[in-house]
């Protein structure tokens, strides 16, 4: 009997919020005060480290195709394709759609220069919170200033939501992406569902 060898293993992948998918769908609130939450599973995430002004920084900036962000809050590229988020003065996170092959290009661009290219795709998952009430939901537990005058579309920061460290990224108007570590994803999603619930009722004046 010939042994069966599984060559396509991607079907076995389970995302950190797969078990909550129907709860997330049911938690959606429609209307003027609407807000909905979903998981964008399996996004490619690559951690990059290089000191600005070095050859490594120049090489990685070229290899991403969208450069590297220069300061806090900045995102190079855009949310629909490849984006690079600033997470420290010499530390960045590249985020791209599932299946984007980037690692080898970045590794060969870095070469032997001092720096880092590491696949972090399974480290965090991406939760998308969207709708007119999305900011109000986040403001219940995030101490950062999320007012549109300072937190504009295309801004991303490292902060906390409740007790959970997250990358918070305003990927479009009224749309935020939260990137908690995979082990915090369940808690974060349930926290959001709880915070969203009140918006299904009419506001109390």
């Amino acid at each position: 009997m010939a042994e069966q060898v599984l060559t396509e293993i991607s079907v076995l992948r389970t995302s950190p919020l797969a078990h909550l998918q129907s709860a997330l769908e049911q938690g959606a609130v429609q209307g003027d005060r609407g807000v909905s939450v979903s998981e964008i599973a399996f996004m490619t995430q690559i951690g990059l480290r290089a000191e600005p002004g070095t050859a490594a920084h120049v090489a990685l900036a070229a290899a991403t195709g969208v450069g590297l962000p220069a300061a806090v809050g900045q995102v190079a590229g855009d949310a629909n394709g490849t984006a690079v988020l600033w997470s420290g003065p010499d530390e960045f996170l590249l985020v791209a759609p599932d299946g984007t092959e980037f690692l080898d290009d970045l590794l060969s661009a870095l070469g032997q220069e001092p720096g880092q290219v590491v696949d972090l795709s399974a480290n965090r998952t991406v939760i998308e919170l969207s709708g007119p009430s999305a900011r109000a939901v986040l403001e219940k537990g995030c101490p950062a200033d999320l007012h549109p005058r300072s937190f504009t579309k295309g801004t991303a920061i490292t902060t906390v939501l409740g007790p959970v460290p997250v990358l918070l990224w305003k990927s479009a108007e009224d749309t935020f992406r939260l990137l908690p570590r995979a082990s915090f994803a369940d808690y974060t999603a349930r926290w959001l569902l709880d915070a969203m619930a009140e918006f299904a009722s009419a506001p109390i004046d």
Binding site: P89, E91, P143, I157, V160
Partner: protein, 102 residues
């Protein structure tokens, strides 16, 4: 809630930060030459002034970088923050030795 200014990220809530104690405690030039008493003083003994104090802080929930701050221990007011390679902008009793920055 109190805002603390990170030199890289700007003003953020105090809950994003960790405290690292007195700044500018120089590592001994020749640690093996120290006796137990001197080593204990290096490890554990810190100033505790009333007034301006140079301290280490870390933006642990943000950029995860260490920096220095001059804080008034009476009012809790942050008078200045500065990166590890920047000179101390306001004098304190625990200023770096010989005008050094570390």
């Amino acid at each position: 809630m109190m805002l603390i200014e990170c030199p890289w990220c700007g003003p953020r809530n105090e809950t994003e930060y960790g405290y690292g104690g007195e700044a500018h405690v120089a590592y001994p030039a020749d640690p093996s030459a120290l006796n137990d008493n001197e080593w204990a003083k290096y490890l554990f003994y810190r100033k505790n002034p009333k007034g301006l104090f140079a301290e280490r802080w870390v933006h642990s929930a943000g950029c995860r970088r260490w920096f220095n701050a001059v804080r008034d221990t009476v009012t809790y007011e942050f008078k200045a923050v500065y990166k590890p390679d920047e000179p101390q902008p306001i004098k304190t009793t625990n200023a770096p030795a010989q005008g050094g920055t570390k």
